[in-house]
C-alpha cells in the first residue's frame, strides 16, 4: 500500500462522513421523536444544495448567508410537511406515514428533474486553493465542509440541551412521560421535523461549493445514511455521529482497494458488525412502534 | 416451598439503578404482593422475571431452574404468565380469539397438519376452543366472547388480559395492577377471581397500588423502594412497619 495516500483517503472519508452525520442524525432524530421514517431526507439534502446555489448566484449574497437561508428554507418546508401531511397520517400508522414521505420525496425529485434537467449547478469554491501538509495536498474546500459539519453537530448538541431539545429527547424516550411533564407534543413534533430536515438542508448547502448539485444527488445518500444509522444504532445521536465517520472512512478505503464493489464489502461489514453488536457501535435501541 | 426466588438481582441503566440487590421468594400456592411507592421499580421486577429485560446481576430461579438469561417466550413456556399494567390485548381479535392465542403452547397439531387443516388439527382446535370458553366463562366474559377486544370497557379488558395469561396454563401468574382504574364492584369481582385462581393451584405474584386490595388478598407482602427491598411480611406486619410508612410519606392520595 502506498502510504502517502493514506491521509488523502482518510480525509475523503472524513468529508463524506461529515455529510452522512448530518443527514443521519436528522433522520434518527425524526425517527426517534415523531416515529416517522422520513424517506424524503435525501431530497431535503438536494434542496439545500440548490437553495444555497441560488442564493449565491442569483441573489449575490455571501455564502454563509446562503447556508442560513438553506437551513431556514428546508426547516420551514419540513415543518410544512408536518402540518400539511404527516400530522394527519401518524394516526393511521407507521407505514402510511412512511409511504407519504416516499411520495413527497418523489414529488420533490421529479420537480427538480423537470426544472433543472441536465443543468448541473455549482458554486465557486469558498476557500479556494489547497493546503500542503508533508507532501499531502488537502483541498481547503473539504476542510470547510468538515469544519461546517462539526460546527453544526456542536450546535445541535447545544440545541438538545435547551428546553425544547430536552422535551424532544423526553418525547423520544417515552411519550407518556413527555406529556406528563406538560410538553405540547405537537409543538415538539413540528420542531423536530424542522430540525431534522434543516440538518439535511445544511448538509446540502455545505457541499454546494465542493460538489456539483443535480436532481439525483439525494436518492442514494439516503441509503448510505441508513447504513450509518444501522452502524450507529437506531435512535442514538452520538452513535450516528461516530458511525457516520466510520462508514465514510470505510467507504473511502473500500473504494480504493476493492473498486466499485466496495459498497458490497461495506454492506457485508455492516452485517457482521450488527451480528456481533446488535445495538450498533453505541446504540441503545429505541422503543420501536409496535415492538 | 418457594416457587420463585430472586437472588441479589439488580438492573441498572447507566448510572441509574432501577433495581439493586433484590432478594425475595414466592411460595407455591400463595398470593404474594409486591408493593412500593411510584417509581420503586415494581414493573421492572416483573420485566426481569419475564425476561423482557435482562438482569445486570443476580439470579432468578423458578421451580429449581435458573431462568435469568432465558428469552421471554422460553420463560413463558416454563410456566410464568403475565398480565400487563396497560391494557395489552390483541385489539383486533375477538375475546375468544384473544384467549385462544394464549393456547399457543398447548397441544399442537404439527405444521403440515395445520397447513392442510386435517381432522386432527380441527379437533385440536375444537378442544382449545372449549378450554378457552371455560376460561372466558371463569373470568366472567362469556357474554362478550365474540366482541372485539378493542371495543370492551376497561374493566373487561383487564379481565381479558388475565384470561390470556391463564390460557397459558401457568404455574406462576404475574399480575400488574389488575384492579387499577376499576370501580369498587369490578374490583371486588377481580379480588374474588384472584382468590379462585390461587385456589386452582396457580401461584400469583401481584403488583398493586390499592392497599385495600393488597391487604385483603395477600398471603405475603414484599415492599420495595428505589429498587431495594425494605420489608417483607404478612399484611398485618406490613401495615405497621415504620419503614414502610415512611416510604409512603409524600406519596399522595391513592396510596392509603
Amino acid at each position: 500500500m502506498d502510504l502517502s495516500l493514506f491521509p488523502q483517503i482518510l480525509l475523503n472519508g472524513l468529508m463524506i462522513g461529515g455529510i452522512y452525520a448530518l443527514i443521519a442524525s436528522g433522520f434518527t432524530l425524526i425517527l426517534g421523536v415523531i416515529q416517522v421514517f422520513n424517506f424524503a431526507q435525501g431530497q431535503f439534502y438536494m434542496l439545500g444544495a440548490f437553495i444555497a446555489i441560488a442564493v449565491v448566484t442569483n441573489l449575490g449574497l455571501p455564502y454563509p448567508v446562503a447556508i442560513i437561508v438553506a437551513l431556514l428554507a428546508t426547516a420551514i418546508l419540513g415543518a410544512l410537511l408536518y402540518f400539511a401531511v404527516i400530522q394527519w397520517t401518524t394516526r393511521s400508522g407507521f407505514f402510511n406515514t412512511m409511504l407519504v414521505t416516499v411520495a413527497f420525496g418523489t414529488i420533490v425529485a421529479q420537480t427538480a428533474m423537470l426544472s433543472f434537467g441536465s443543468r448541473e449547478a455549482v458554486l465557486p469554491p469558498v476557500v479556494p486553493g489547497t493546503l500542503s501538509l508533508g507532501g499531502v495536498t488537502i483541498p481547503n474546500g473539504k476542510l470547510v465542509v468538515i469544519a461546517g459539519a462539526v460546527v453544526v453537530m456542536a450546535a445541535l448538541h447545544f440545541f438538545m440541551k435547551t428546553r425544547i431539545g430536552v422535551s424532544m429527547l423526553a418525547a423520544s424516550e417515552n411519550r407518556d412521560v413527555a406529556s406528563l411533564q406538560g410538553i405540547n407534543p405537537k409543538r415538539v413534533f413540528w420542531i423536530t421535523m424542522a430540525v431534522g430536515c434543516g440538518l439535511c438542508g445544511v448538509a446540502g448547502a455545505l457541499v454546494a461549493p465542493v460538489l456539483a448539485a443535480s436532481g439525483t444527488m439525494g436518492s442514494t445518500i439516503f441509503i448510505k445514511a441508513l447504513l450509518v444509522v444501522l452502524v450507529g444504532g437506531t435512535g442514538s445521536m452520538s452513535g450516528a455521529l461516530l458511525a457516520a465517520f466510520v462508514v465514510g472512512i470505510a467507504e473511502s478505503f473500500a473504494f480504493h482497494f476493492v473498486g466499485h464493489l466496495g459498497l458490497l464489502v461495506i454492506f457485508v461489514l455492516v452485517a457482521i458488525l450488527i451480528f456481533f453488536r446488535p445495538g450498533g457501535l453505541l446504540g441503545k435501541p429505541l422503543p420501536v412502534p409496535g415492538e | 416451598m418457594s416457587l420463585l426466588t430472586l437472588e441479589n438481582v439488580g438492573k441498572s441503566y447507566g448510572r441509574l439503578e432501577a433495581v439493586s440487590g433484590l432478594e425475595f421468594s414466592v411460595d407455591k400456592g400463595t398470593v404474594h404482593s409486591l408493593i412500593g411507592p411510584n417509581g420503586a421499580g415494581k414493573t421492572t421486577v416483573f420485566n426481569l422475571i419475564t425476561g423482557t429485560i435482562r438482569a445486570s446481576c443476580g439470579r432468578i430461579v423458578f421451580d429449581g431452574e435458573d431462568i435469568t438469561r432465558l428469552e421471554p417466550h422460553k420463560i413463558a413456556q416454563r410456566g410464568i404468565a403475565r398480565s400487563f399494567q396497560q391494557t395489552f390485548l390483541f385489539m383486533d381479535y375477538s375475546v375468544l380469539d384473544n384467549v385462544l392465542t394464549g393456547f399457543h403452547m398447548r397441544d399442537r397439531a404439527g405444521v403440515i397438519r395445520e397447513f392442510l387443516h386435517t381432522r386432527a388439527a380441527r379437533e385440536a382446535d375444537e378442544r382449545a376452543r372449549e378450554q378457552a370458553l371455560e376460561i372466558v366463562d371463569f373470568m366472567g366474559l362469556s357474554e362478550q366472547k365474540d366482541e372485539l377486544a378493542g371495543n370492551l370497557p376497561h374493566g373487561h379488558q383487564r379481565a381479558l388480559g388475565v384470561s390470556i395469561a391463564l390460557a397459558c396454563d401457568p404455574t406462576l401468574l404475574l399480575m400488574d395492577e389488575p384492579v387499577t382504574g376499576m370501580n369498587p364492584t369490578e374490583s371486588n369481582e377481580m379480588v374474588e377471581r384472584i382468590r379462585r385462581i390461587r385456589d386452582r393451584g396457580v401461584t400469583v405474584l401481584l403488583v398493586e397500588h390499592s392497599m385495600r386490595v393488597v391487604m385483603d388478598i395477600s398471603d405475603m407482602i414484599t415492599v420495595i423502594s428505589y429498587g431495594k427491598k425494605i420489608a417483607q411480611g404478612l399484611p398485618d406486619e406490613i401495615k405497621h412497619d415504620p419503614q414502610v410508612i415512611e416510604a409512603y410519606i409524600g406519596e399522595d392520595t391513592d396510596a392509603a
Binding site: 495516500l5 441536465s118 448541473e120 465557486p124 495536498t137 443535480s214 439525483t216 444527488m217 442514494t220 480504493h256 | -
Partner: protein
C-alpha cells in the same frame, strides 16, 4: 344486511364491467397506419395518421430533451399540412412512452402499449429501454425498430425488423481521434474512468482497444456506482495510478463530470483529461472550480452543431428548437439520429410499409445527415449480418483554447467505420465482405486518418 350486500354487489359488478370496458374498447389497434398507397382525395388536409413510437426514459434529461425534439419534428411535418408519402398526406403522431431506466417491466409495458394498443408500426428513437425486451415485442409483431443499443442483444441475423440506427460500440473513430490527439501531446498511459453501467461494461473494452490502436497503454478501467456524488475516492485512486490521461468515456451526468474533474484537481492530478461530453455552460462551471489553465488544451466530443454543421436544413432545426423551447441543450440532440434515417427511408421509398422500409434500410448505401453530422448504416459480416443494420455516426470534436470550447474537427463516418473495424480486430470478415459487395460509399467528408492499409 341484505341491502348493504346488494350495494356492494352492484359496486363490484360496476368495477368489473368498467375494467372490461377499457379492456375491450381500447384494444382495437388503429389500422389506419398500414393503409399503404391508398388512393386519397387530393388537395384536402391530412387524411391519415401515421403513428410513430419512441421509447425514452422521461426521468432522464436526455429522454426529456428527445421528447422535445421528436414532438417538434412531428409539429413541423403537421404544420406543413402533413407528411406527403406516396400521394397521401399523413398527420404525424409521435407517441412517446416512458421506457424507464433499464427496466424490463416498464420497457415491455411501453412497447406493448404502443404496438398492441396504439398499433404503432415504427419505433424510431429509444433511450435507456431494454432492447433485448424490445425485440421480443417488435419482431413477432413485425414492427420496425430503429433504436439505440449498447449491448449485442439486437445484433442477430434472425431479426428482420431490427435496425441499430444508433450504436456507440462501432463508433470508435471519435475515441481514437481524441486518444491520438493526446498521444501526440505525449500521453503514454491512460485509464478509463466510468460509471458502472451497461454502457460502460460494453463500451470500455472497445475504448481500450482504440486506445491501444492509438498507442496508449490502457490500464484496467475504474468504475464507480452510478449514483456516486463524492468523487474524492475515485480521484485519489486515479492519482495513485500515475497515468498521463484519464478518459471519461461514458459519464453521462454533467454533475458527475464536473465533480470528477474538480476532485481530480483537488488531489493534484495535473496530466491530461478527456472530459467527455461537455457544453460551454459546463465548461464555465468547471473553470469556476479549477481555473482556466487546468483545462487548457483538452479535447473531446461535442454535440452542439453550431459552428460545425454546414447543412442549413439542420441549422434551421436548431433555430426552430430555440424558438420553441429556448436555449439549446446538448442532451438528447445526438440520440435523435434515427429519425433522420427513418425520414430518408420514407421519403425515398414513398411508403410506410414496414417491409419496404426495412428492405430499403438494409440495403442503404449512403449516409444521412443528422444534426450531429452524418450517420450511416452498414453491414456486420463479423456477426453474420450482411444487410446494413448497424450504424456508424459521425462526431464533432472540440478543443479548449483560452477557456473557450472551439469546435475543431469532425470525425467522419468513414473514420468511425474503419477505426472500429481495426480496433475491434474484425478486419478479416469485413475484407471478405468488401470483396463480395464492394466497399461502402461514404459521405463527402474530410478523413482525418490514413487507413490505406485497409
Amino acid at each position: 344486511m341484505k341491502k348493504r350486500y346488494w350495494i356492494v354487489m352492484a359496486l363490484a359488478l360496476a368495477l368489473v364491467l368498467g375494467v372490461l370496458g377499457v379492456a375491450c374498447g381500447k384494444d382495437e389497434p388503429t389500422t389506419s397506419t398500414d393503409a399503404g398507397g391508398a388512393v386519397t382525395t387530393a388537395g384536402a388536409g391530412p387524411t391519415e395518421t401515421l403513428k410513430i413510437g419512441a421509447m425514452v426514459s422521461l426521468s432522464t434529461p436526455q429522454g426529456l430533451e428527445m421528447q422535445k425534439w421528436l414532438t417538434m419534428f412531428a409539429k413541423i411535418k403537421n404544420e406543413a399540412g402533413g407528411w406527403d408519402i406516396g400521394g397521401t398526406k399523413y398527420k404525424l403522431d409521435y407517441i412517446i412512452y416512458d421506457s424507464g431506466i433499464s427496466d424490463t417491466t416498464q420497457t415491455r409495458s411501453a412497447y406493448e402499449k404502443a404496438v398492441l394498443q396504439d398499433g404503432v408500426k415504427h419505433i424510431v428513437c429509444t433511450w435507456t429501454d431494454v432492447p433485448a425486451v424490445a425485440v421480443t415485442v417488435t419482431e413477432p409483431n413485425e414492427v420496425l425498430w430503429m433504436g439505440l443499443d449498447f449491448s449485442p442483444d439486437t445484433l442477430k441475423p434472425e431479426f428482420n425488423y431490427t435496425i441499430r440506427a444508433q450504436c456507440l460500440s462501432f463508433a470508435l473513430g471519435a475515441a481514437y481521434n481524441m486518444q491520438k490527439y493526446y498521444v501526440d501531446k505525449g500521453a503514454k498511459t491512460s485509464v478509463i474512468c466510468d460509471t458502472d453501467t451497461l454502457q460502460s461494461q460494453v463500451g470500455n473494452a472497445n475504448w481500450a482497444k482504440s486506445g491501444e490502436l492509438a498507442g496508449l497503454k490502457e490500464l484496467e478501467p475504474i468504475t464507480f456506482p452510478n449514483d456516486t456524488a463524492d468523487f474524492a475516492p475515485v480521484a485519489t485512486k486515479i492519482k495513485s495510478l500515475d497515468v498521463d490521461l484519464v478518459e471519461f468515456a461514458y459519464v453521462n451526468n454533467p454533475d458527475q463530470l464536473v465533480n470528477l474533474i474538480r476532485a481530480l484537481y483537488d488531489v493534484g492530478y495535473d496530466k491530461f483529461i478527456y472530459p467527455g461530453l461537455i457544453d460551454p455552460e459546463m465548461l464555465a462551471n468547471i473553470i469556476s472550480q479549477v481555473g482556466e489553465e487546468y483545462v487548457e488544451g483538452w479535447s473531446g466530443m461535442y454535440y452542439d452543431p453550431r459552428g460545425i454543421q454546414t447543412d442549413p436544413e439542420m441549422l434551421a432545426l436548431v433555430d426552430r428548437y430555440e424558438q420553441e423551447y429556448g436555449e439549446l441543450s446538448q442532451e438528447g440532440i445526438y440520440w435523435i439520429g434515427p429519425w433522420f434515417l427513418f425520414e430518408e427511408a420514407v421519403n425515398a421509398t414513398q411508403s410506410i410499409d414496414v417491409d419496404v422500409l426495412t428492405e430499403y434500410l438494409k440495403s442503404m448505401d449512403h449516409g444521412v445527415n443528422t444534426i450531429c453530422g452524418y450517420t450511416q448504416l452498414f453491414a456486420r459480416p463479423d456477426v453474420g449480418i450482411m444487410g446494413t443494420v448497424d450504424s456508424a455516426p459521425g462526431h464533432y470534436m472540440y478543443e479548449i483554447l483560452d477557456g473557450q470550447m472551439v469546435a475543431k474537427r469532425t470525425v467522419s463516418v468513414k473514420d468511425q467505420y474503419l477505426v472500429s473495424i481495426k480496433a475491434l480486430g474484425v478486419v478479416e470478415p469485413f475484407q471478405k465482405y468488401w470483396e463480395e459487395n464492394g466497399r461502402p460509399t461514404f459521405p463527402e467528408e474530410e478523413s482525418l486518418f490514413d487507413f490505406s492499409d485497409l
